[in-house]
Amino acid sequence: MSVGAQRDDFDVAVVGGGLVGAAVAYGLGRLGNRVVVLDEGDMAVRASRANFALVWVQSKGLGMPEYAGWTVASAEAWPELAEELRRETRLDVHLEQTGGFHIALSEAELEARTSTLKRFHNQTGVAQYKTEILGRAELDRFLPGLGPDVVGGSYCALDGHVNSLKLFRALHIAMQAQGTKYLADHAVTAIEHDKGAFRLTAGGRQVVAGKVVLAAGNANQHLAPMVGLKAPMRPERGQIIVTERVKPFLRHPIVTIRQTDEGTVMLGDSKEEGTDPVGLNLGISSTIASRAVRTFPVLGKLNVIRSWRGIRVMPADGFPIYEQSTSHPGAFVVTCHSGVTLAAAHALKLAPMIHAGQLDETLEAFSARRFDVQAFA
């Protein structure tokens, strides 16, 4: 028996140190697991550094009612997560669930929005919560300073936002305070399953863990098959613009405009195909800017400090994938677009299931087996 040799074995290896991986790792550490988080390096394409930071409910789950329910559950669990993180890290992630808006800049946009919401709420089994269509006069009561082009919008009281960078940092501080080991520059290149344990090759070292959670965003597409799972993703990018700091002027987040607790105003977000996160389409930046100025003309005076094009982690049908491997029990895949909104569900609901070794039946709809069904349909 070797004495004092450093044992690189853990209860759980979480692959991916972004918001999804960190939330799951935090949730597992909370339950006493010895966790290692294997992450890529500084230039990793990372949605956690390029997201819009909404904790968003309205109209999520069109086409999959279970997603609506899971989203609402996470939004409801969010205050508990924020409070826990504040207690453990003394970082305030600035959760504000004051209700959020979607703004229409023409009658046609308002009609499209109305019909989307109607289709959404007509789904059988969808979580019942209120999303209202508001006219211009009603919007003015919540959102002073709207421009003449705004005709109306939708409102949901469950919507909100956080400071997602503080969330990212708080999760990292909290998980490491629990004893979780975080390894940057350790991209996983191979996973082997042997005698009930997983052996991961990452950054030139071998890590052994009883369970493995794949939370590596788009890289899950390539990692999942190593443990008998799949995670079909589609390439999608989005652009975001951020302004200089300004005194508070906007009390509610809008799906494309929000003011952070620091005072900067974030404007987003576009949807384009493609995977190159570096290049930036100035035309898209300009369109985002133009719509923001039409929504709130005073924004026009603000200086733009940065803009970026981020990669979206987007499963092929837009809905999360949660599944345990049948061929490699103990291996889980966790992939979704909304790492901020779902952070509370991942830390406080999903992690306990992984800890128990069994995903709840309520998550059955999120299995990637749904893609096989679609293939036959």
Partner: protein, 98 residues
């Protein structure tokens, strides 16, 4: 505290800073004019309201930001002075009103 060279031939230009008239010279940037007029502090930072003043004078540090003719947070060192220009110093985060 800065002083002009004695034989400096440039034409005088009058601008106002926070409502007060100051004399600058053609060829000055706004930041240079403020320093020449004895302004030690030209801004309070957006984060902690700490006092700041021009630092690099070449457009890289953004410490010299001021409001020029109603446009906030412009780099004072990059804007040449013009007769009648209105300058306002900034205190912390700027404000936009609806």
């Amino acid at each position: 505290m800065f002083k002009r060279l004695p034989d400096c031939p440039a034409t005088a230009v009058i601008l106002t800073v926070d409502g007060r008239a100051i004399e600058a010279r053609e060829g000055d940037s706004v930041a240079a004019a403020l320093l020449a007029a004895g302004f030690a502090q030209t801004r309070q930072s957006a984060v902690s309201q700490s006092p700041r003043a021009p630092y690099c004078m070449m457009g890289v540090c953004f410490e010299c930001m001021v409001t020029v003719d109603g446009v906030a947070n412009r780099q004072g060192c990059m804007v040449p002075v013009r007769e009648g220009m209105r300058i306002e110093t900034l205190r912390g985060r700027r404000e936009i009103s609806a």
